[in-house]
Symmetry: C2
Subunit: 336 residues, 2 copies
């Protein structure tokens, strides 16, 4: 089904059909309706390759998939879904690609742009020393990152979750639920994300005058968390609570708690971070990242960049949303 077939059916020229879709105000109302009828009747949809060729724009955004399947899988994979949902709103589609292990790091990026398969990228799993932002900027290829850009203070095309606000909300929630001893399990000091999340907890427990606020740290992982959870559980005691920097850590703590015969909620308040499926299935209260809004923001940014607009004046932080689960219900059915 091509534009010419529609034109023939509606007894107009191909350009009138084109105008009907792109500049309806240029077409006389009567003709407009008639053409629209033909379009609907024939189910015409313009061919993407033709438009891409004509416009010299792919209308697509590249997305490197290596990260999915890594430790941060819980976040990046739902984020990809959020991007796919948001894409139609920005008149674009996604092209995921995986740079094979054997090939140069950035080959996937250069190939997809050079072949005009994509005209911009969404980066995930950005980290200090990440070569991608500078590499792309040097070639003036538009990009936006989910996650802060550590290399370059001046970079503004990024969106991230407000970890501080998240753990603050977690601490608020625990106090509200009646927990009086609130610990924190995070990652070793030095990672900006981790420090941010720790600080939200620290400031907020202080604000509420919580007395017992032990903390511990370990690498991201369930076994790692279980290993260091002991002293933390001792410190907050039965009936205390722990805020974790990630859902994996929370699950590790859960295992440690179960091993001592503590049950989630009454014996231990527990809050994770990221809104992973597993946390939900375990009944752990968690901080859900607003991935739909973040995805929308990312696509809006690259869309504007492609239209030649100036980059935003700063990166964007999005507050996570606390989803209460059984793990923070202190009195399942009863009065305080």
């Amino acid at each position: 089904m091509t534009i010419n077939e529609v034109a023939a059916h509606a007894h107009v020229s191909r350009q009138t059909v084109s105008n009907t879709l792109n500049f309806p105000e240029r077409v006389r109302p009567g003709t407009l309706e008639q053409v629209r009828e033909s379009i609907d009747l024939l189910g015409y949809q313009p061919s993407a390759p033709s438009q891409q060729l004509r416009h010299q724009r792919a209308g697509a955004v590249g997305f490197e998939l290596n990260a999915v399947g890594s430790t941060r899988n819980d976040v990046t994979s739902p984020f990809l879904v959020a991007l796919a949902v948001a894409a139609p709103r920005h008149a674009c589609h996604l092209v995921p690609f995986a740079s094979g292990d054997a090939r140069p790091m950035l080959s996937g990026y250069s190939e997809t742009v050079q072949r005009h398969l994509v005209d911009a990228f969404v980066l995930v799993d950005t980290h200090p020393g990440d070569p991608r932002p500078t590499w792309l900027s040097e070639r003036s290829i538009p990009w936006v990152a989910f996650g802060r850009i550590w290399n370059d203070e001046a970079a503004t095309t990024w969106a991230d979750v407000d970890g501080r606000a998240g753990t603050a909300a977690a601490a608020d929630h625990l106090v509200e639920q009646g927990y009086e001893r609130i610990g924190f399990l995070g990652w070793p000091t030095g990672s900006a994300v981790g420090d941010d999340r720790r600080e939200g907890w620290a400031v907020t427990t202080a604000k509420h005058g919580v007395d017992v606020t032990p903390q511990a740290a370990c690498e991201q992982g369930i076994a790692e968390a279980t290993a260091v959870a002991g002293p933390l559980l001792d410190a907050v005691g039965r009936g205390g609570a722990i805020v974790c920097a990630s859902d994996a850590l929370a699950i590790g703590v859960l295992h440690a708690a179960l091993s001592r015969g503590w049950s989630l909620g009454p014996d231990l308040g527990l809050i994770g971070f990221d809104g992973s499926n597993t946390a939900d299935m375990c009944g752990i209260t968690t901080l859900v990242q607003p991935l739909d809004r973040i995805a929308d923001h990312c696509l809006a940014v690259v869309h504007d960049l492609l239209d030649g607009a100036a980059p935003p004046t700063s990166g964007s932080l999005f507050e996570p949303h606390l989803i209460p689960g059984p793990s923070t219900i202190r009195n399942p059915k009863g009065t305080p």
Copy 2:
């Protein structure tokens, strides 16, 4: 960088450049080398939109993303990565799309084909009554499924994991490790996948003459598994083992075991299914699906269909691979 610029640089016509890439045997050796030099020097890569337009083929495969983020997330999301890795080998790329909740079920499929964004689909999360296979076949749009096709016995364009072989390997492994009482936790009878997995365990434990083989069933979910795990643990007793139909179920059993103070391995042998990240992080022995091979097979099938080849004579089953973890080490450091 277009073919014309390369042609000018190499002092030949555009068609010679085209032939250099597509039919090198038509080009005189001397010219060939000279043109190749220009191509390398200028870093030319043919434009995908042009080729798509000319060939009337997108060279892309559609992939519906709704399923990712669902309960089967653990499998579909790594499968997408496997597809992305395999895609370059089949000279194609992926176009993931999400049918928004508000819109008709199959709109994503019809739009992407009509716009020539994709020319085939890989289906996941197929289920009895799935409208997609017939809908696509009626329109003679090539497709292949990861998961059996329940509607249509005659369908052969699918690949799936051999659940029976998987749980059989699991039972073998447990016997080999010295476990003498081996139970099974699966899904309610009726789901073909679940029944298949149950049977592998049943047949193999019988073969080894295992005496104590209790079983139980519940819906897919961690809490659900924990809820029904009690009697099963009682039946196999301390030092027994349990094979599960999925990793989520295994984690549910793990929680029940931890609550009784049992430790994985010595007190309870535990095996999950699917090779999820979480199972790995929990140290649970699991059956990893060969997603890379399955992805490769799927893309090969649609590629052949697009070339007009006849569909395969039957669907393909792939045996999962058992990855041993601490959860099936009966004697951490010692003799039997």
